[in-house]
Symmetry: C2
Subunit: 208 residues, 2 copies
């Protein structure tokens, strides 16, 4: 019965992603997204209840894809090598999927949404957040036998914050991270992990 769709939700999400990755989320206005597709603005609202839902979906999609793969690496064995691999995963991912990385790493949720998550997305966002915390918690426990706030902070620095910092200037410059970035990521991750496993494990080994 229905008429054939000319503007699949998928096309709209693509256009919004492209605009947000290139010029930032604020540039992804309804008018511009529609313009990118040659569509009237009304057609966007036929598919998405609001701009917040649309942009939220864009951000959540990128974040979920990134975190799924990142989490898989971090959950590997043995835990120390898994953590180093997770850190190394960040620049590799940025090289292979620059747009996704720009969305996920250059902007925060607030830049996309302003306010809170719209109803339908709130659950997914919470699940994502929980999965990230749980993944880090488990890796921390396996790595050093504890998962207090301080240990979590150190591990997060090693596998998330420092790799992000190494990659960030190149995201801003819209260029692929050079090879030296991988060396920086590895060196800083090892240094941070040594704070968790280094002296203590040595001491523990000596005691035995």
């Amino acid at each position: 019965m229905p008429r054939q769709a000319a503007f699949h939700p998928h096309l709209i999400l693509d256009a919004a992603s492209r605009l947000a990755a290139r010029d930032g989320p604020a540039a992804a206005t309804i008018a511009r997204i529609a313009g990118e597709l040659g569509a009237p603005t009304g057609s966007i609202y036929h598919r998405f209840a609001s701009r917040d839902v649309l942009l939220g979906e864009v951000w959540l999609g990128a974040a979920e894809a990134f975190q799924r793969d990142f989490g898989a690496v971090l959950a590997g064995d043995p835990p120390r090598e898994a953590a180093l691999a997770a850190a190394a995963f960040v620049p590799a991912r940025v090289r292979r999927r620059a747009d996704e990385a720009r969305l996920r790493l250059l902007h925060r949720r607030e830049d996309f949404l302003g306010g809170a998550w719209p109803g339908e997305l709130a659950a997914r966002a919470r699940a994502l957040q929980r999965a990230a915390v749980a993944g880090l918690h488990e890796a921390c426990q396996r790595l050093c036998g504890r998962a207090d706030a301080e240990a979590l902070r150190v591990l997060r620095f090693a596998v998330v914050d420092a790799p992000l910092a190494a990659v960030l200037p190149h995201l801003h410059a819209r260029e692929a991270p050079p090879p030296v970035v991988d060396a920086l990521v590895r060196a800083s991750a090892e240094a941070a992990l040594a704070m968790l496993t280094g002296p203590q494990s040595r001491r523990r080994a000596q005691r035995r």
Copy 2:
């Protein structure tokens, strides 16, 4: 002759800074800045040619203040200790001047200005950028005898990017960086600096 000023430029800059630090630069609209002061919007334009000039001044002011002190630390002697001190300077500064740090570290120039620097500020912005590059260049040269792109990248990571990464989650959470952050900053800075001075200087020493 003239009438007494009720809204000094200084007061306007303060109000804009406060708003931008608290809710982000996008929240610092002319209407809100005026509201914060109990002033009509026209009075803002009596002092500042445009919103871009006003917000540009806010950002440049914070950036110049931060960089002046940071640069002084980085220029100290001996170069290796100066670099470590510069890295340690970042979390210390964030603790002491949270608002300035939020402006400078949480947002980029583009979030404040959108377009290019307005005329009067362009020269100051260029000078600031040049000073930052020169300071890093000189420190790099003193530290390891070279200042090619790779060495500069490593030094920048050690003293700027990694400390920023360590501090960033706490800026987002609007809390003071905990002590473990200082340890992370030191460890990652040492690890990065070792890539510049470690193996090579040992080799050089062995050759003599």
